[in-house]
Symmetry: C2
Subunit: 371 residues, 2 copies
DNA sequence: GTGAAAGCGCTAACAG
DNA sequence: CTGTTAGCGCTTTCAC
């Protein structure tokens, strides 16, 4: 078939082949019922035999919506995993992977699910999705480019600077994910971070009757982290725990840093519970606790936030607050469509519920006899 | 900001505001160096103050490439996981997840990685990616829609029927993923299924000196499965094993079906090795083997194909042939760009290497003292 | 029902 | 360096 691209056929070609005007061709495509059957058949035959595919650009230009929504993600780190091949055999590398040298596929990149959710929702509404990395050298160009060819844009928090966002927002509706930006005038879809943290912390404090706490926070500029720490403080207040009695350290949401922090923390004094602002940190804490010969949950209970896969497979499995990532993506597309239907009205913020998953690192009950 | 969409500004608006012609505005955008600095500044100021974002549609129409490549995936199954919430607390559902009730996030959907790879490559080349599900009710419409607004299209095998594919291929280059379609005239990017299976099977037969084999194949219409079975037969021939001595069953690439088949197989006679055409099947076989009280790898060794995450976390971890999914996506974008640069020439097929990952279910050696 | 004609917003010669 | 002028391929009144 590589006998192609010799100037793709246009409405004119189809019209000529079918012996009608271009207007009729257009009608056959957009409102088939408005055309007499015989005429319609001839046009459709011409379309088939010419291999005609309408130009989306021309369509979009000529009016109406493009039927495309955009999604800007923070950009993918190019993880070129350089595993050492141990044996080679017939051109196929053979690796002894019993120690699981294999990378965590870098798949845990949490926005995979967001992407899939958005795609699903777009698909169900007959829309196409345009995805791009909102970062990188040509950031501005890409963002403008995408903004120029979609009906609406969903942007993951902190992937595009505010001024750029405000610029494109003058052309199309923009919805920010994972950060309530109503103050800036943007619609947003986010997760109920505060309630989630409050609930899991309440479980630790009141449910398990633990008052010796440590809190591993994230980077100070993270809106997510900020909300979670608010939820944490609410839980303290609810239970009448003195905030000053809680040792708090600030990590970077990373596992390595959390491990270091946890070691220092445990060195000083072992808390009965370590509440973490995200899962990666919690896994780092788990590393440190185990390394010191302490048992989880018997000696220390640990909780995370996010619900990443690694937490399901850790030893012990990690209690966490699960965020509905897929739903985030879906809600984003819905928000865009809503805004397109109702251009006016104040910015709206959708809050999605989270879910506490109690696993072994901080079980429903500390009573061994209870389930 | 919701003060928007009052007919977005156009080049004309910018030109008027800056006191220049539309051509100059266009130049400032496309080749800034061709415009005197003072003029350029005025235009850029106008762009900023008007909130001007060029229309991608108009750009695409006016000539040149759109700068967008399309990716058609098989479509996402909408997995609405209905987990039973055990406790409710302050609006946040609390779930006892100690038995890992949580879904495998459905994340293992293998094309996540393909998608990310494609995105990465596109991003690095300054292209945007348009993603859509190649299935579903409005399949034809969506496919045409996407095809009408991209420069080239990558399609995952079996997501779009050939006739539709051939139709759009007359307009833009199409590359098929995971299936060598040169015969149909399409460029393709696929994985070396045969060599992978041949290598892993050779390891079992010659490396481990096992000759009592069973083979769990996939659905008959799968091109992947077909190639893998060819590789398997080559391995048999290489080692001088009589194919007739191998019991072969056909599954559906699913875990459940494989489990059933394995039970029947084991009932009749326990083979020393079960080679499976994909990981899901291998996991099903593992289920059955363990259920019957047999040990892996001591009594039965099992191998899979794909390299899904679940295989890393199974008990025991699964030996498999890993496919470079991310690379598939990247290669697809490269293939499209290549084809755009060289519209003529015969269809080309890119073959990506696979990698055998030896894990506990079929270790490098059966000698317990080794390694 | 169907055709004629006027753009949609931009790029790319081609003149100045 | 900058302005003029054609279209790019399609949708959409408005007549017939």
């Amino acid at each position: 078939m590589s006998t192609q691209r010799t100037a793709p056929p246009t409405v004119y070609d189809v019209a000529a082949a079918a012996g009608v005007s271009i207007a009729t061709v257009s009608r056959v495509l957009r409102s088939p019922d408005a055309v007499r059957e015989g005429t319609r058949d001839r046009v459709q035959a011409a379309i088939r035999s010419l291999g005609y595919v309408p130009s989306g650009n021309a369509r979009g230009l000529a009016g109406r919506r493009t039927g495309v929504v955009g999604l800007l993600l923070p950009g993918f780190d190019v993880v070129t995993d350089e595993r050492p091949g141990l044996v080679t055999d017939g051109g196929v590398r053979v690796v002894d992977d019993r120690r699981h040298v294999t990378q965590p596929t870098a798949s845990a990149l949490y926005f995979d699910e967001v992407l899939r959710g958005a795609e699903t929702e777009a698909w169900q509404r007959g829309l196409a999705l345009m995805v791009a990395a909102g970062r990188g050298p040509s950031r501005d160009v890409i963002v403008n480019d995408v903004a120029g060819r979609v009906d609406g844009l969903a942007v993951l928090a902190q992937t595009v600077p505010d001024d750029l966002l405000e610029h494109v927002a003058r052309r199309i509706p923009v919805v920010v994910l994972a950060d309530d930006r109503r103050s800036r005038g943007f619609d947003s879809v986010s997760v109920d971070n505060a309630a989630g943290m409050r609930t899991v912390a309440a479980h630790v404090i009141a449910g398990l009757d633990i008052r010796s706490l440590a809190y591993v926070a994230g980077p100070v500029d993270s809106p997510d982290d900020h909300e979670r720490s608010i939820g944490f403080r609410q839980a303290l207040a609810d239970a009448g725990v003195d905030p000053a009695s809680v040792r708090t350290v600030h990590g970077d949401f990373g596992r390595v840093r959390a491990r270091e922090l946890a070691h220092a923390l445990l060195e000083e004094r072992v808390p009965r519970a370590v509440i973490c602002s995200n899962d990666q940190s919690a896994l780092g804490v788990l590393d440190a606790v185990v390394a010191r010969g302490l048992r989880v949950p018997e000696d220390v209970v640990v909780t995370g936030f996010d619900g990443i896969d690694a937490g399901r497979f850790s030893t012990p499995p990690l209690t966490t607050v699960h965020q509905p990532m897929g739903e985030l993506g879906r809600a984003a597309v819905r928000a865009i469509v809503d805004r397109l239907d109702h251009p006016d009205g104040p910015p709206r913020a959708v809050r999605l519920p989270v879910e506490v998953l109690l696993r072994e690192s901080c079980p429903p009950s500390l009573d061994p006899s209870a389930d």
